[in-house]
Amino acid sequence: MSSAPHGDRVVRRIVLIGNPNCGKTTLFNALTGLSAKTGNYPGITVEHRVGLARLAEGMSVSVIDVPGTYSLVPRSDDEAVAVRVLLGDLPGQTRPDLVVAVVDATQLERNLYLVAQLRELPLPLIVALTMTDVIASDGGACDVAALQQRLAVPVVAAPAVAGGAFALKALLAAELTTPSRRLALNVARSDVDDPVVAAEVRRATDVADTVGRAMALRAGMAPEAAAAFGQLALQRSLTATETAMPIVDDSAPGLLAAVPAPLRAEAAARAVQARQQRARSWARDIVTQASAAEPRSLAFTRRLDAVALHPVAGPLLLVAVFGVLFQALFSWATPLMDLIDGLVGTASDAARAVLPQSMPLLSSLVTDGIIAGVGNVVVFVPQIAILFLFLAVLEDTGYLARAAFLLDRIMQGVGLHGRAFVPMLSGFACAVPAILATRTIENTKDRLVTILVTPLVSCSARLPVYALMVATVFAGVDPVFGIIEPGALVMVSMYTLSMVAAVAMAAIFKRTILRSPTPPLVLELPPYRVPRALQIYKAVSARVTTFLKEAGTVILAITVVLWGLLTFPIDHDVKDARDRAIKATELQLPAGAERDAELRAIRNGAGVALVEHSLAGRLGHAMEPFIAPLGFDWKIGIGIVASFAAREVFVSTLGIVYGLGEAQDESSTSLRDAMRHDTRPDGTPLYTPLSGLSLLVFFVLAMQCMSTLAAVKRETRSWRWPLFQFGYMTALALAASLLVYQVGRLLGVQ
């Protein structure tokens, strides 16, 4: 998003930077109104928002909202983007014309640390104070003029109340027209009494200054930036994060690494301490409280937290909150999804009626390919919308931070990032919204680990397959220990297997390809706030639209490809014979139930032959030698190929393969009977408890879901990770099924 030409002038760029939760986004919205767009920088998954602000007659500027950050030494990709925008350190980007440090006046001293860091750089800077209305309503006051004098940069109060951004706009216009004189402060350094320590600090600082000069040169900034840049590099050398920051990393690399870490640590710690002292002296007595009593705004939060973080009540409330979320994803979304299925059916029927009878292939493409494909996309919308609605409300109220506080210990125990909880839980309903929800995990590698293992969590689309297999092969088996239904035991085992697999694979990935240090937990508990409807609406609609646009096209395309696999090549002999038989029957029998049954039998019989002749059928046959050791035959092979569309399609595909038509579901007795009576060439039954178990294990572990792959592609912005995921999950599934079936046979299990 480089400067866009506007009229004959170049639009100038303003960046808003500030601590998380300081009110930056609220200010951004007040400045830009409805013009904001969410975008991505090339190659970076972190989103940023850009909008136009009209400051005065004929004066519009482009405003950039970057993720919140506590300091200019980033610990996450989000923070790195903020700093890189600020320093013009992104491909095709220049430095912004003006930096607005957004400062929460109710946490002045803490927020001024970032300002202290910014003041060390020769950047055009102003400070906007938010939440001043909170101070006022608590009966306190905030001395803006005194703060401006101490900081030696323009300061303006810009609370989120009607007209609050007015003064800010005026100041922005003035600063862009005639910038005030800006001098960078010296880098904060503390006096060190101990001569040994002083020498150490000096040694590290000297090297840092050298690196800083290289950085300033690279950034095209005045040499006075060198010391501040050196400090950034010095502190960054201690953080060992995976985030990219080329301006630091590529300038004189290695120089700092040669300085022993304790020396660097000492120097960095002194600088941070000196900066904090600066912030403290700036903040002293600026905000005055009416009384020594706790402000009203905080008392409410404290009372609520006495329950929400209570050792007993807290966890109970947490279970209740996420129980409702789970319930919503699992069952409240169902009527909407059924409605969508119904509409897809209606649309198909309508299309079939409109399209010429003489072109059955076109009609089939439109209904079974395109309309079904659109249905496959839209059907995810209810769950995605519900999940993000919940998340947005939880985030906006401040409860999500409390949940992280309560859950951190558990998630740390299973080796997953604390924020992986919501995606993993949602995964039990559906992996697609779950994968979109991994957004909240800031660390890229932890996010990838969560994305890679989430589809192992047993989603609701696997249930029909479980139900069919359990009813088919375990219905007649005697209860275990005389009381436990084998079907129930199998179900519980499958869910357990899925969770064990997810946690185990996460542990493996974290120790191998996605190795990264345990992310530090530094979590702020913001005051509780009333959720904002507009904010939430925006968050939900943004997720739904990007899913429809980006993952939707992939899902639609794969549906059409799968339709082609199941349709071509067409066995014309079978088809002609079928059409002749249908005609003859229609002539022979009067319209009625008997004729319908006869016609259905003809269609279903031909359906078996057509599918067997199709590419999917041939693929099923070709797979047989490979999947036979797992206890599967070619019919199951076709089911596996077809169920790539969605796992539950396995059931209807078996319906087609067994000549029962595609309208079979997991409770169909005729399908169960057909399966029970199916035999291998040697006469033994195909579906035994052992082969059934093998198939179940396969479905727990295999990546049988193109929509999930499309979502992963969308979230990782490449085909690399979805393909890797498909590969590892399929390999895992094949290996586990092979193990189950072969060991079972060795043990003499049927």
Binding site: R110, A240, F405, L406, R409, P517, V522, E524
Partner: protein, 96 residues
């Protein structure tokens, strides 16, 4: 200082509700330590452990008027002394 080694008072050992002052940071500063310093946990700053999570970890701290949660492991790098406000009682308590 001789027998102090095992009496060193660390932030994660503080009972909830008692303000303490950070004396220094033990060991080499890492990413988390640096971040906590940036949030105000610098030598000389007053900090209070306000709450322990139900499962024993993490801790909730109050520093610079904000509430920050950290793991015990990260907090253990911060060596603290009794804050002057409560030093009288602390000294009295340490008498035996």
């Amino acid at each position: 200082m001789v027998s102090a080694a095992n009496r060193v008072n660390r932030l994660h050992q503080q009972p909830p509700g008692r303000p303490v002052v950070i004396d220094h940071i033990d060991g080499v500063l890492d990413a988390t330590g640096l971040r906590l310093m940036e949030l105000g946990l610098v030598p000389g700053a007053t900090v209070t452990v306000t709450r322990v999570a139900p499962l024993g970890d993490p801790l909730e701290l109050s520093v610079l008027g904000t509430r920050v949660c950290v793991r015990k492991q990260a907090a253990s790098a911060f060596v603290v002394i009794a804050s002057s406000a409560s030093s009288a009682t602390a000294v009295a308590g340490a008498a035996p």
